[in-house]
Amino acid sequence: MINSLSKDSHIVRGNCYIKQAPLPESVRQKSGLNTPAIKNGIIMNKPAEPSFCGFLNAEKFYKSPVLKKALGFADEQQLVFGAAYALFLTCVMRPLSIMLFPSKKNQDDQKYASAHSIASGLIGFAISTVVFTPVSSGIKKFTKNPEKFIKDKGNYLLKDKKAMSSSKVYLDRLPDIITAVPKGILTIALIPPIMKYVFKMEKKGTGADKKATSNQAKCLNFNCQRPLKKGKDPFAKVKGGNK
């Protein structure tokens, strides 16, 4: 069985991928290289194929219309594709990792951090989709027909393909670079109201601190008309001074 495996072994032979000249018939018969695999033209040395342990058929996956649609979308609307992937990371992967990985923080802090991640992902995706969809479509319209939109007909881009492809990459990423900081500012500004009104979560410590300072202010209000309650005088324990 081991011998037949080695003779018929066309599955994995590492990354070795050298083309060999076909051996003459007599040599093949003597060396035993006359197996059905070789007769049917199956190549001996092949690069390792991606395998998903039988769960996913690579050929079906590469032919699937869903994959082709996704690849077409990535090519035409790469900024929105990036925003959609970022949405998946911030709304699914990060909250899962926060809740699943053990941490010194308590459960409430972990829930707050997860909600914060989801809120920032949703805001980023909404802004990116609204702003980048028409911009990416416009850039695509330009790259499909640049002669229509470049007024100077002797422009170097119309003659040089490499320059055209570099300028296409710059145009595709320029909206993301320009809007990086404004998008960050808007996301930071919108997270607290979304956390408060959508997720019903507030940042801990702000309410309690405010209450403590206002109570202290009441005790120290020398113009207060109401008499202080017994035992609430903050200066009762102060010693020293002129009597």
Binding site: P50, Y62, G82, K141, K148, S166, Y170, R173, G184
Partner: protein, 225 residues
């Protein structure tokens, strides 16, 4: 509004014609959307004609390291601007003590630095593997599928003469090559976007941040901020 139950009209070839490009239904047929689209395209035409753009593109194409991985460099540039903004905001935050501000800014800087290095390393390694194994395999399988599909069309139309067969073959081949180039470019873009975004938005906060915090605290103890 009367809902039509005309199933045969729904299934007709005219109704089932799908567009080649991604469609957002009613949105892309909107007049306002089309105006914005045309304005952006005209703006691009003006922008690429400027001297600055010409100098930038020429300088980019002279350097191989820049032109080969231009998409990765531009994604990292966007992340650099955003990280710089967050670090500057932290340093100006008056609600925090000065030492705490500096520690937090150093942590954010370390996270950014480590994430950037990781993004470049992973993207570089994945690029070679992808091009050799995944994209090449994708092209091979789809070319084979296209040949089988056209052979099936030919077998279904035995009455076609040679001229018709050649014309249909050219038409089918051109459409396939156009789509194949679009899918190959999409693969390359998706690979870069997925790797860089995963490093900056998942690996950095989950794995790099605790490591950077430890490093930042060690630096703080050594320099006594």
């Amino acid at each position: 509004m009367r809902i039509s139950s005309n199933y045969s009209a729904y299934c007709s070839p005219q109704n089932r014609k799908r567009q080649d490009s991604t469609s957002f239904g009613g949105l892309t047929n909107n007049r306002v959307f089309n105006k914005i689209e045309t304005s952006v395209a005209e703006g691009c035409g003006w922008l690429v004609g400027t001297d600055t753009a010409k100098k930038l593109v020429t300088a980019t194409n002279k350097q191989k390291w820049l032109s080969e991985k231009l998409t990765s460099h531009l994604i990292v540039l966007g992340s650099t601007l955003l990280s710089g903004f967050y670090i500057a905001k932290t340093l100006k935050n008056k609600d925090m003590e000065e030492s705490k501000r500096k520690t937090l800014a150093i942590n954010q800087g370390l996270v950014y630095g480590l994430s950037t290095v990781m993004a470049y390393v992973f993207d570089g390694k994945a690029r070679k593997y992808f091009n050799k194994n995944i994209i090449a395999k994708f092209v091979e399988i789809n070319k084979k599928g296209q040949r089988e599909k056209f052979a099936k069309i030919l077998s279904e139309n035995p009455n076609w003469d040679k001229a018709t067969r050649t014309r249909e073959a050219l038409k089918s081949h051109r459409a396939f090559v156009k789509n194949l180039n679009k899918w190959k470019d999409g693969f390359a873009l998706a690979r870069t976007i997925i790797i860089v975004d995963t490093v900056y938005r998942f690996i950095a906060p989950v794995i790099v941040t605790p490591f950077a915090n430890k490093l930042g605290n060690n630096l703080k103890e050594k320099n006594r901020l």
